[in-house]
C-alpha cells in the first residue's frame, strides 16, 4: 500500500469547490476536508502550470528549478523559444528523490515529466505530450504496451491535442462546448483507469496523479460553474453546459473517493492545485503598449492583428499559437523591450551586450527597467479609471537563483486577473465577449492521513511546502536545500514527536541536460529567418 498519494487538481480553487461541496455535487471532497486539514495554497510567480507544478515537485521556486513558462529560452543569449521539458528542471523532484531512497513511485499526467526520469516505478507524462508519441514518454519501457491492453486506453484522449488545448485559452464556438466538456470528463476517467491498474499491479510508496480538466473548465466555462455568474433564465444550451460541467465535478469527486479508498487508511493523501482561478474579462495588449511607449517597433509590413471598431463578435485572442512572432515581426533595430509569450506575463528587455543594435546596456538597464515599471503602474483602465497592472515584479525580486538569467526581466500581475495578449493591436485593452476563467495565486491544499490534524482550517501554505510534506509522508529524508519548509501545523504534535522529520543534504542545482552546450552560430537576422521558416513549416504560427 502507498505511504503518500498526491492528487493534483490543476487550477482548483475553493471559490468553485466550496459551493460544489455545499450543494452536494462533491460529497466525498466535503467529507475529506472535514476529516483532515485545509488551507489556501499560494502559488509561485507566475501562477502558471509548468513552473507551479515544477515548484510543487521540487520544493523550489522557478529561479531555483529553471522552469518559467510553457516555453523556454534556449539559453541566456538566445531569443529562440522552445517547449519546456524535463531536461530544463535543474533540481531533484519528489519522484527522483523517493526513487533514490529506495522507494517506488507512480506519476501520471504531470507536466514537464517528459522525457521521463529513470525512476524506480512508472511515469506517464502529461502537459504538452502529443498523443501520437505517448509511447515514447512512458517509463519504464514496455509500460505503454501494457496500458494499451486496458479497455479504456486511448492515447488520443489522454495526451495533448494542440487544437483542443488552444480552445481552453482562446475560446470556441458554442456548438463545440458540449463535446469539449464531455471529452475532459472521459479523459479524467481514462487517467483513473490507468492509476487503478498500476496501483493494483505496480505497488508504489509515492503516487501522484494530476487531473487537468479542472483548469480547462475554468478557462472556458467559468460562467457556468461559478454561482456568482448564474443567470436567472438560462437558455436550454446554457442549462446543458452547466449540467455537463456539474457532471464533470461529480465524476471527479467519485474518482477522488476511489483513489483514497485504493490508497487505504495508512496513506497520507494530499489534494493540491498549482494555482487557483477566477473570472476575468480584460485582455491587455502588452506589446501594443510597449510600442506606444516607444520601447518596441514592428517591421513595416505587419498589420495589426486586432483593430478598434472590429465586429462585435470578435473576441480578443491572446496569441498562444503565435509565440514566435516577437522574433520575426519585431524590428530589432528599434526594439528595447517585448513580451514573448502570453502565458508568462513577462517582459524581456533586449540586452545590447548580446548583440542587439538597440536595447539596454549595463549602464541603461536600470533606467529602462524603471521607466517600464513606472509606465505600467501608471496605466489606467479607460472605463473604470483603475490601474490595469496590479504589480510589476523584477527578475531579481522573484526569480533569484541559478536560473534567474533565463527569466523575463519583468513579470506582471494584472488587476482583475486578466490576460495578456502578445499580438499586434491598435488598442491597448479589450474585453472578452463572455467572462472567462483565468489564473489566480490562491490554489487549494487538503490533506488527510495518519498523524494529520482533523477538521483544521489553516493559514495559507506555500506550494513549495508540499514537497517536504510528501517526502516525509513517504518516509524519505527532506533535502535541506528546499525552499519550502516542512509544514508542522498540518500534523498533530504527538505524531511528529513519535516520527520526527529526517533531513538530508540536498543535491543543489543539477546540470540541465544540454544546458551549457553551445548552439550553432546564429546571427540575429539568421535567427529571425529560422523562426520565419518554422512558421512556414507550421511549427509556429
Amino acid at each position: 500500500m502507498p505511504k503518500a498519494v498526491l492528487i493534483g487538481l490543476d487550477g482548483a480553487t475553493f471559490t468553485i469547490l466550496d459551493p460544489l461541496m455545499e450543494r452536494g455535487v462533491m460529497p466525498f471532497l466535503r467529507h475529506f476536508a472535514q476529516r483532515g486539514v485545509r488551507a489556501k495554497l499560494r502559488s509561485v510567480i507566475p501562477a502558471l502550470t509548468p513552473p507551479a507544478w515544477t515548484s510543487l515537485m521540487t520544493g523550489k521556486r522557478p529561479g531555483q528549478h529553471g522552469v518559467f513558462d510553457f516555453f523556454q529560452r534556449d539559453s541566456v543569449d538566445s531569443d529562440f523559444v522552445r517547449l519546456a521539458d524535463s531536461r530544463d528542471i535543474g533540481s531533484a523532484t519528489i519522484w527522483s528523490l523517493a526513487s533514490d531512497h529506495g522507494k517506488r513511485v507512480i506519476a501520471l499526467n504531470f507536466p514537464v515529466t517528459f522525457p521521463a526520469p529513470a525512476v524506480d516505478g512508472c511515469i506517464v507524462p502529461g502537459g504538452w505530450m502529443p498523443w501520437r508519441q505517448l509511447r515514447l514518454g512512458c517509463h519504464p519501457p514496455g509500460l505503454f504496451d501494457r496500458l494499451r491492453a486496458l479497455p479504456s486506453f486511448s492515447p488520443r484522449e489522454l495526451a495533448l491535442d494542440m487544437a483542443l488545448e488552444e480552445k481552453a485559452i482562446e475560446g470556441c464556438a458554442s456548438e463545440e462546448y458540449a463535446d469539449w466538456v464531455s471529452l475532459h470528463t472521459r479523459r479524467e476517467q481514462r487517467w483513473l483507469d490507468i492509476l487503478r491498474y498500476l496501483m493494483q499491479t505496480e505497488p508504489a510508496d509515492l503516487i501522484g496523479i494530476m487531473f487537468d480538466g479542472v483548469d480547462k473548465l475554468h478557462h472556458l466555462c467559468w460562467r457556468f460553474i461559478d454561482p456568482a455568474f448564474q443567470v436567472a433564465r438560462p437558455s436550454a444550451w446554457e442549462q446543458q453546459i452547466s449540467q455537463l460541467c456539474e457532471r464533470y465535478f461529480r465524476q471527479l469527486d467519485a474518482a477522488i473517493a476511489e483513489i483514497v479508498d485504493l490508497a487505504g487508511p495508512g496513506a497520507t493523501v494530499v489534494l493540491a492545485s498549482d494555482h487557483g482561478g477566477g473570472p476575468a474579462s480584460d485582455v491587455f495588449f502588452v506589446n501594443a503598449w510597449l510600442e506606444q511607449q516607444g520601447f518596441l517597433a514592428w517591421v513595416a509590413d505587419t498589420a495589426p492583428t486586432r483593430k478598434s471598431g472590429g465586429s462585435a463578435d470578435q473576441s480578443p485572442r491572446l496569441g498562444m499559437g503565435q509565440i514566435a512572432r516577437h522574433v520575426y515581426e519585431l524590428d530589432w533595430e528599434r526594439t528595447v523591450a517585448y513580451a514573448a509569450t502570453p502565458s508568462s506575463l513577462g517582459i524581456h528587455i533586449v540586452d545590447r551586450s548580446l548583440g542587439g543594435a538597440n536595447g539596454a546596456g549595463s549602464e541603461s538597464y536600470r533606467q529602462i527597467q524603471r521607466r517600464l515599471i513606472d509606465g505600467l503602474r501608471a496605466l489606467r483602465h479607460p472605463v473604470t479609471g483603475r490601474p490595469v497592472v496590479e504589480a510589476v515584479h523584477t527578475r531579481d525580486e522573484v526569480f533569484a537563483g541559478p536560473f534567474e538569467s533565463l527569466a523575463p526581466d519583468l513579470t506582471l500581475s494584472l488587476a482583475d486577473g486578466g490576460a495578456v495578449s502578445i499580438l499586434r493591436s491598435d488598442t491597448l485593452l479589450s474585453r472578452r465577449r463572455e467572462v472567462a476563467g483565468n489564473h489566480r495565486p490562491e490554489g487549494i491544499f487538503l490533506a488527510s492521513g495518519p498523524g494529520i490534524r482533523r477538521g483544521a482550517s489553516l493559514p495559507d501554505l506555500s506550494i513549495v511546502d508540499v514537497a517536504p510534506l510528501l517526502l516525509y509522508s513517504a518516509e524519505v529524508p527532506v533535502p535541506d536545500d528546499m525552499t519550502g519548509r516542512f509544514p508542522d501545523e498540518v500534523f498533530e504534535p504527538a505524531a511528529l514527536h513519535e516520527r520526527p522529520v529526517r533531513t538530508a543534504t540536498g543535491q543543489g542545482t543539477l546540470p540541465r541536460d544540454g544546458a551549457g552546450v553551445p548552439e550553432p552560430h546564429l546571427e540575429a537576422d539568421d535567427e529571425a529567418a529560422v523562426m520565419a521558416r518554422l512558421r512556414a513549416l507550421g511549427y509556429v504560427d
Binding site: 501520437r132 529560422v530 521558416r533 518554422l534 513549416l537 507550421g538
Partner: protein, 102 residues
C-alpha cells in the same frame, strides 16, 4: 557517446517509427522513404517532440535548424523522410558545435 554506423541508426529509427505508427493504426510499412508529415500524418508539434526523443538517444542536435531547413523548402517538398532523419542524426551526433556568438 558510442559511435554507430548509419545502418544502425536507420534500424533504430525505423523500429521507433514503426512502433509509433502502429499506435496510430497506420497500415503501411515504415521504410526509409516514408515521409513523416505526408505519409504518416505527423503534425509540426509532433516533430518538435520527436526531436526531443531523438536527442535523448543521440545527444544534443541542431534539431530546430533542421526543422527550419525543411520549412524553407517549396510547399510540395516541405516534409521529411525517415532517411533524411537518419542522415541528419549521423551528420550531427557527436559533433562539437562552434561557440555561439551574437
Amino acid at each position: 557517446m558510442t559511435w554507430q554506423s548509419e545502418a544502425q541508426v536507420r534500424d533504430e529509427l525505423l523500429d521507433m517509427m514503426s512502433q509509433l505508427a502502429g499506435d496510430w493504426e497506420y497500415g503501411d510499412p515504415i521504410t526509409p522513404e516514408t515521409r513523416l508529415l505526408g505519409d504518416v500524418g505527423l503534425e509540426s508539434l509532433d516533430l518538435v517532440v520527436l526531436g526531443t526523443s531523438i536527442q535523448q538517444r543521440y545527444g544534443r542536435l541542431p534539431f530546430a535548424e533542421f526543422l527550419a531547413e525543411i520549412g524553407q523548402r517549396p510547399v510540395q517538398d516541405r516534409d521529411v523522410s525517415v532517411q533524411e532523419l537518419v542522415s541528419f542524426v549521423c551528420r550531427h551526433s557527436g559533433l562539437t558545435a562552434p561557440t555561439r556568438a551574437r
